[in-house]
Amino acid sequence: MDVAEKKQVRKLKKSSLLWKTFKSQKMLYAMSLPFVAWVFVFNYLPVWGWTMAFQNYIPGNPFWQQEWVGFYHFIQLFQDERFFLALRNTLAMSFLGLLFGFTIPIVFAILLNEVRHSLFKRVTQTITYLPHFVSWVVVAGIVTKMLSTDGGIINDLLVGMGILDQPYQFMAEGKWFWSIVTISDIWKEMGWNAIIFLAAIAGLDPQLYEAAKVDGASRFRQIWHITLPGIRPTILVVLILNIGHLIQIGFEKQMLLSNSLVMEYAEVLELYALNYGIGLGQFSYGTAIGIFNSVVSIFLLLLANGIFKRYSNQSVM
């Protein structure tokens, strides 16, 4: 019994120590626990809502009175032609976004770094940040204005140079929509996304360049053999983050840039969920689309991670 008693005492001592630290740290708890509760409500609780996808959810009825329908909504989903269009659009635009939204800022950062004139460099940088801070509402307005058939600069230029005979309705043609979204995104975010690469390039050892110059390496060779390998770790980190963002394909730009004429190319899964779920009040169907969207996102993430792992021996997750 002696041993057991000692154990008991030690246990008590330990728990009283825990209690003591708890008491001495009560302020730290008071400063953090309320916000744990906060994210529980706003971030974790909605996941419970996924049960709606398996019910014929009727708002206002208590949970236990909802009718359970299993995978009915998912089966409906796979029979809807519009769903497959939305899936295609989602995949196409997230792929284009990853491809160009990632590479172009690197090229821009490298070219900007080659500028010797420091005022020109600073001014260019400051100007290219600007669109990042402007809302998509404004950007969509600007894009529509630039591409408009009456007085839009793009049409004026194309007609002026004789490439087009008459103004072209870019915003009304579905086949242009993906390009418009991708290019608008680049216009908005290129300067901002280059920040991190510029910082990485600035951190490279200038002696490397000196040595290369002594050896007679041209600027292209310096870029290829010093700058690019030097910022490789940064490129990988950003690629990882970008792949992580595949999950948040987003619908804001599609929603703001689209109109009924291009819906066939503009409606992404989330927009489809929004139109059905809230627009038509079909909450269960909308939730099912949302769940499918999450599944696609995770699938994309895993796929990209697999490819990435093969070529770099590093992993996102």
Binding site: M52, S135, A140, K145, W187, L261
Partner: protein
């Protein structure tokens, strides 16, 4: 500067590279700035004259009338007030709370650290989705309420991580000496840590403020029935609405069309004046915090 490379003559190829590079970057500048200048020029041009077209970067018939005209749109004035309110309140509350949580997570002696950290960081990797999120807001009674702009995004995991990595870089001895003097943890946070975090807090404040100022979707989803809760971006969205060219069919169920019938007739110049009003506050602020956000961006990405 005694640079040995100066001794080497730049070759013709390098010169060409430089010329092409400057040319290319200048084109980038033009493409970035032109739309803003165009919007500005149209907003300062007489609205009936604008219809004739041909305004590029300089107004033909200068006037400030378009800006005065905006004041007649009641919703725009209410929207402006609400946008300012949500930006100010959301930024102050958000930055303070995020800094406070970040502080507790930087305390390696904090028992609950792991738990708090995991619960909060996980939120970056999943989301309940649009519809369940909407149902939650509805169940919480936040529809038709100003608080829907402030509350849901208050605890941002991403921002907390950035602030935390900044606090981690501060010497811990500062906290210890304060503790010896009998200061409790909140006092340490408020009196010692907060003032030292100015650079990172400036960055986060910029992020939060821009996010608040620019958001329109929450107004559209939750408060579109209530004109007294409208925001500037939402009003702009309705006025600029791109569906104007195609007319709306059932594919566009979610677009509120009733009011647009009125707004559709608002002249080009007035639309552009409203655009300027939403853009100018941001243009005025961001160059001043530029040196901070570059620091913050780099910190955030490296520490992830």
């Amino acid at each position: 500067m005694a640079n040995p490379s100066d001794l080497y003559q730049t070759t013709v190829r390098e010169k060409i590279f430089d010329v092409v590079n400057y040319l290319f970057l200048s084109i980038v500048i033009v493409i970035t700035l032109y739309p803003f200048l165009n919007v500005l020029a149209i907003s300062l041009n007489d609205s009936t004259d604008t219809v004739r077209g041909g305004i590029y970067i300089w107004p033909r018939e200068f006037t400030l009338n378009n800006y005065l005209e905006i004041l007649k749109y009641d919703n725009l004035v209410t929207g402006f007030v609400n946008s300012v309110l949500r930006t100010v309140l959301g930024t102050i509350l958000g930055v303070f709370i995020q800094a406070m949580v970040a502080f507790t997570l930087s305390r390696t002696d904090f028992q609950g650290r792991r738990f708090v950290s995991v619960v909060i960081v996980l939120t970056m990797y999943f989301s309940g989705g649009l519809i369940p999120g909407y149902m939650l807001i509805r169940d919480l009674g936040l529809i038709n309420s100003f608080w829907v702009y402030i509350l849901p995004g208050l605890v941002s995991a991403f921002n907390i991580i950035i602030i935390r990595s900044f606090i981690d870089g501060l010497p811990f001895s500062l906290q210890e000496s304060a503790k010896m003097d009998g200061a409790n943890d909140f006092v340490i946070f408020y009196r010692i840590i907060l003032p030292l975090c100015k650079p990172v807090l400036a960055t986060i404040a910029l992020f939060v403020a821009v996010g608040q100022w620019n958001s329109w979707f929450d107004t559209y989803l939750y408060n579109s029935m209530n004109d007294s809760l409208t925001t500037l971006q939402y009003e702009l969205m309705k006025i600029l609405d791109n569906t104007a060219m195609g007319g709306s069919q059932d594919a566009n169920l979610m677009r509120p069309n009733d009011e647009q019938q009125v707004n559709r007739v608002s002249p080009q110049s007035i639309k552009m004046a409203i655009t300027m009003v939403t853009v100018v506050p941001i243009i005025m602020v961001y160059p001043f915090v530029q040196r901070y956000f570059i620091q913050g961006m780099t910190l955030g990405a490296v520490k992830q």
